[in-house]
Symmetry: C2
Subunit: 333 residues, 2 copies
């Protein structure tokens, strides 16, 4: 029996998080012993201690995979998100902000237990972000929260690497990947964070053979493969995953489908304000390009374009129509 | 018996609110039948309906009197705020953002009943803001929440006009004003909003004789007095209140202490992004000048300077040190 034709381009699976962004100096990051540019999971007490030391912040909806879904929608694609919030004010904010971008979001809310997740994001003068995430109810995303029919209706199911190795959420990840493959769709994964790859190496290694499209940045790829240059890492990863795309910051991005290897420069940005969301938005462009069967070079260009928009302002979701930007570059989808 | 020397410059009293800001077109404001540039109190159902129609937003701490307190602190003054939040996530955000600017904030939190207040703020392309406020627990601020020793320790107690006529909050207003006067301090009030003046005219009329310093904008002053030009309104108001200062948007501001009438032009602003908080920050500069016994012209210049900073970006609190801006203009406090 053939699966019905796909109705969504991309469904993303990850933690539903509200970001608390504040501009700080390097000293504050050092005070808390944090590694700049990475994500650390923190408990409620540590989250409170870091928050106490932060200047006034701005709250915006975030979450890596949710940012990607918002990016796909902004590019004109049909997107859905799977991730868990509580029935609290931050949950209201998260759901509103995502749905109002056009993303389908139907995961049942938690009605008891920990609150909606928040990530304290310290943005330093170099525009780097250091994230401290209290997962709350987002960490309780489970297999039962995954709507398998929704997943089956999408050309690509994209899972954030932050779920890899989380006891409960791995069930959701497995359920989503299984449903996608049974429907004949592709499964994509991002490595998410070099420290996370180091911490969950075994779980990533076990998962990679079932991944059709792998995304990551340079340091994540080197960490995953143990290689010392990005070309070697790319070649190593394509032995396991049919399509691999790696971002290289200001050096652009490179991808391979095992046959061709293509690279693109970064999009020029007048002023980099906040790199939060750069990888998430690259994923949005790249995956929508793949879903629409565009050549690898166009997929990379779409990713670079979306990433450039999001780093030119504070906040990890597009503030202008990416579809219009893409059309202006001859990349209409 | 003499009161102890004041330890605070300004204590402000008002509603503790988290703002939800979104850029929208004029059509959305019209759809909901809202009057652009004003504040409307809405119930939970209406708040939800307006929110549903809004694009993704940004959450930042707000509340007129709290913005003023943050402005006084940014100018280098000693400020406190009196207003009520719940023990919920938005309450945490509000308290954190205010305290981390250096403002003393010790009002007991509500532990039951309605949640922390939020204001849905529609920012139109002309940079005007239309506010829809669900007061929640902020509307339950009562006389018992006012720390009279704190109020007595401040040179000026400033109350937002939005409290005038609210059944419970008027008790808090009366308690604060009484404590200030018993300690030989001055009481300041803002008219807040022309529609609010119209709605609560009797309550404002009853209150004005006990107000030492009255603030407002042009349309509020005309509404309050029934006059048709701002000079006549100013003269009428100084018959009741010893000091009156009125803002006139791009035309600057004017003040009178019954003897002298002084006006200043608006500070030049390269690009007006969002007028939210303009009046609140004018009040911060003007009141801190008064508290430090500066000449009326300097008080106006401090107000104009603080207002100019806040309208040059989205959000109603300073994003740079107002003390440094003031010092650069020879207005160090």
């Amino acid at each position: 029996m053939d699966a019905p034709a796909p109705t969504l381009d991309v469904v993303t699976v990850g933690s539903a998080i509200v970001d608390v962004l504040a501009h700080v100096d390097d000293a504050l990051v050092a005070t808390h012993g944090l590694a700049k540019g990475t994500m650390t999971l923190v408990d409620l007490a540590r989250s409170a201690a870091i928050y106490e030391s932060m200047p006034p912040g701005v709250e915006v909806s975030g979450g890596s995979a949710a940012n990607t879904a918002a990016g796909v929608a902004s590019l004109g694609g049909a997107a859905a998100f799977v991730g868990k919030v509580r029935d609290d004010a931050l949950g209201d904010i998260f759901a509103h902000d995502l749905r109002s971008t056009g993303v389908v979001y139907t995961t049942p809310r938690g009605t008891s237990g920990p609150p909606t997740a928040r990530s304290l994001i310290l943005v330093t003068p170099d525009a780097e972000r250091t994230m401290n995430t209290y997962l709350g109810v987002a960490g309780e995303l489970a297999a039962g929260d995954v709507d398998e029919a929704l997943v089956a209706s999408a050309r690509i199911t994209y899972v954030e690497g932050y779920l890899v190795g989380l006891p409960s959420a791995e069930g959701a990840l497995t359920a989503a990947a299984g449903a996608a493959h049974r429907a004949g769709r592709r499964v994509a994964l991002t490595l998410s964070d070099p420290f996370w790859v180091q911490l969950q190496r075994d779980a990533f290694t076990e998962l990679l053979p079932s991944v059709d499209v792998l995304l990551g940045n340079e340091s994540e790829a080197l960490e995953m493969t143990g290689e010392t240059d990005v070309e070697a890492a790319l070649m190593a990863l394509t032995k396991t995953c049919p399509v691999v795309a790696l971002t290289r910051g200001a050096a652009g991005a490179v991808a391979s489908d095992g046959k061709d290897t293509v690279s693109v420069p970064a999009e020029p940005v007048t002023s980099v304000k906040d790199t939060t969301g750069a990888g998430d938005l690259f994923a949005a462009g790249f995956l929508l390009g793949l879903a629409r069967e565009r050549p690898l070079a166009d997929c990379l260009r779409l990713g670079a374009l979306a990433a450039a928009e999001v780093i030119s302002h504070t906040g990890a979701r597009p503030q202008t129509s990416l579809a219009a930007l893409a059309a202006a570059r001859g990349l209409a989808l």
